[in-house]
Amino acid sequence: MSQATARIMICGFCAREFEEDRAQTACGSCLLNGGCRWARCPHCGYENPESPRWMDRLATWVDRHAR
């Protein structure tokens, strides 16, 4: 059974989990409209930094080559 594909984030403020995808609903009226590097927690409104893509890629690369 396929699980939700959205990345799960844990809010740095309230420690609740949310889907990165769901954070976008909070950005509807922002100028950048979700194009920014922040994911707003749908529970408390805190802006969480999204980890940069290149860091994710680096992490997977390191993982692969560490073995």
Binding site: A15, T25, G45, Y46, M55
Partner: protein, 662 residues
């Protein structure tokens, strides 16, 4: 999932059951709550896995026997909320909307019930028979969590059954509850507070047709302008839904924050209330060291001293002395002073036209000033600050800070919730101004915006000021005292001037955590990357403006105009430039001040006065634009007009006081 089982993949079949006489039971829940485990318990040997029509989302179906009755059990993808735009969420929404299930069974993790209940409320809104299966009771018991099933069941208006899916306990009770639920009347929809609840009821009351989902859920979707819901209303209502759609549209426009977000918040609040009423932790707090520390940090008697220690070590020692002192020193003196700047100067020596050369190198050059400020002054300071910030964040300190200051904040017309924008303001006031949107009342939003603009220094400014005064702890305390006093006094005055009710705030304290290195590093890097992608271009732009200003003489003119003001604070004329810089970017101004102090132009009193004035001084251009956007022209301009005299007035008084005591 079903190893050894017959399974068939049929992309795009009808999806819905061929034999509709059977009772259809759908399992719904967040990921990792044991949905698959329960599905296996309820179903027999044959399971079909197919794609839901028109999607790539897989859905499993199996036959089961409940109370002697043959039923179909459907497993849906794990999700936190039905509203959302992922393919899975859209699919589940469509599935429920089309009446794809007769009974909904939400599988929930007993250890995190408050996080699960907002989805429960969404399901109850649908107005279908619903059962809440509280799974992982074995682990909950081990954690000392007690659940008042009867109370929760009464409050939700649905059956609540504790189970342990992996062991099979509670499954028979659950089966009975499902059969009973299918026969009984559907639950009454939850009633929400605030504007959202009223809006949902208002829209719901205007719906006359028959729908496969409850009017509360439909109303919520309509207010969120959900296309499928609108289409259904157009099809079903006698007048084509004109009336109700207009009401919904009007309501959508009256909410200033995104409606989806408002509704989610309201649901979460209701969920928290439910959890508070029916879940308790029997094991006494303080059983372990971590929880005891966690509570001590939130209690004023111990929390305030702890906060001071944190600020002293983190901001003063780490950001100020190490980042702003040692590291800046090396970068400035060695890297830029000995290597980079001379290199650029040599490079541009060949250019005969002086103005062009001065654009790049020289006192206000793009390379020698803009890049140097960004890399040698701001980078180490901001880097150290973000590291400190991310460390606190990852340890779970911020919610404790929220509780700690809640009482003080109430006097300022703010709730503990306002700690979020205020804390974020210490990173970037512009972003924080945007976040004030999440506050409940307009009054609170205005007050928070004002205080952010007035008394909250942003990360770079804070860092530079720490560095500026790292050698003079006394001056630093004066600066801190004056800024905090301004924050409190002006805030209290503001709360008096703006009438309205004090906000209420409740927050569950998540546990204190041991920060993880990888988290802290990732968050720090993410913040720094954001900062530099935004800041470096602006630094360069500001450098160009300043160069232009010099070339045309406008800058001298402005500086001279500011001259008397600056002199009245007892500051040398050069500081006028710093205030001008400060308008382009807060940090830029602070960096300028830093430069002046290192050149030995300023004495201690002057540094303190300048730092206080600059901190309180008008926000940078970006923040001001955000204020315009969020609070409107009139409010933003009024704040601007108020802040300037407050800043200079405070500087003026401080100068008088400090001169006289000296």
């Amino acid at each position: 999932m079903a190893d050894g089982r017959a399974s068939c993949h049929s992309a795009g079949g009808t999806g819905l059951p061929a034999d509709s006489s059977r009772l259809r039971v759908a399992l719904v829940g967040t990921p990792n709550v044991g949905k698959s485990a329960l599905f296996n318990r309820l179903t027999g040997r044959y399971v079909t896995v197919s794609n839901y029509p028109g999607t790539s989302v897989e859905i499993s179906r199996g036959a089961g026997t409940l109370g002697g009755e043959q039923v179909e059990v459907i497993d849906t993808p794990g999700m936190y909320s039905l509203t959302g735009s992922s393919e899975e969420q859209r699919m589940v929404r469509r599935f429920l909307f089309n009446g794809g299930a007769d009974v909904l069974v939400q599988v929930a993790d007993a250890k995190n019930l408050s996080r699960m209940l907002s989805l429960t409320l969404q399901l109850v809104e649908l107005g279908r028979p619903t059962v809440l299966a509280v799974n992982m009771m074995d682990e909950a018991v081990r954690h000392g969590i007690e659940l008042d099933v009867t109370r929760l069941s009464t409050q939700l208006g649905i059956a609540v059954v504790p189970i342990v899916a992996v062991e099979g306990s509670g499954i028979e009770d659950l089966k009975r509850a499902i059969i009973r639920g299918a026969r009984e009347r559907a639950p009454l929809p939850p009633v929400y507070g605030n504007g959202v609840g009223t809006a949902m009821r208002g829209v719901g009351a205007q719906l006359a047709g028959q729908y496969p989902i409850g009017t509360t859920a439909l109303a919520a979707l309509l207010i969120q302008a959900d296309e499928e819901a609108i289409a259904a209303v157009r099809r079903t209502e006698a007048d084509g839904g004109e009336q109700v759609l207009m009401t919904a549209r009007r309501l959508t426009e009256t909410f200033d924050a995104p409606v989806a977000y408002k509704i989610a918040l309201e649901r979460q609040q209701a969920a928290d209330d439910l959890a508070r009423g029916s879940v308790s932790q029997s094991r006494p707090f303080g059983a372990d060291w971590g929880t005891r520390l966690g509570h001590a940090l939130a209690r004023p008697s111990t929390g305030i001293p702890a906060l001071l220690v944190v600020l002293y070590l983190g901001l003063y020692k780490f950001v100020g002395q190490l980042g702003g002192g040692t590291m800046v020193d090396w970068l400035e003196r060695v890297l830029f002073g000995r290597h980079i700047n001379p290199f650029f100067e040599r490079l541009f020596l060949g250019i005969p036209w002086e103005p062009v050369r001065s654009l790049f190198v020289g006192e206000y050059g793009l390379l020698t000033l803009g890049v140097r400020y960004a890399v040698a002054v701001i980078l180490p300071i901001v880097g150290a600050f973000f590291l400190f910030f991310s460390l606190l964040e990852d340890s779970g300190y911020f919610p404790r800070l929220a509780l700690l200051v809640d009482r003080t904040f109430k006097r300022l017309g703010l709730s503990g919730r306002a700690v979020i924008p205020i804390v974020l303001g210490l990173a970037c006031d512009t972003m924080a101004t945007m976040v004030t949107r999440t506050l409940e009342t307009k009054r609170e939003r205005v007050l928070a915006t004002f205080l952010l603009a007035l008394a909250i220094p942003c990360s770079a400014q804070l860092g530079v000021i720490m560095a500026l005064m790292a050698q003079q702890p006394l001056a630093l305390s004066v600066w801190l005292g004056v800024v905090i006093a301004t924050f409190v006094v002006i805030g209290a005055l503001g709360a008096r001037v703006l009438p309205g009710e004090g906000p209420v705030f409740h927050m569950e304290l998540p546990p204190l955590r041991r920060p993880r290195l990888s988290n802290v590093v990732t968050k720090t890097v993410a913040r720094m990357q954001w900062y530099f992608l935004e800041v470096l271009p602006l630094f360069l732009l500001a450098s160009v403006f300043i160069w232009l200003g010099h070339l045309t003489g406008v800058f001298e003119l402005l500086s001279r105009a500011l001259g008397p003001l600056v002199r009245s604070l007892g500051l040398p004329p050069e500081t006028a430039t710093v205030f001008l810089f400060g308008f382009f970017r807060r940090d830029y101004g602070a960096a300028g001040l830093f430069d002046l102090q290192r050149q030995g132009v300023l004495d201690v009193v002057q540094v303190t006065v300048a730092a206080v004035t600059l901190t309180l001084f008008i926000p940078c251009v970006a923040q001001f634009l955000m204020m315009l956007k969020e609070r409107g022209v009139r409010t933003a301009v009024a704040m601007f007009v108020l802040i300037t005299p407050i800043a200079f007035g405070a500087g003026f008084l401080l100068n008088l006081v400090l001169r006289s005591v000296r």
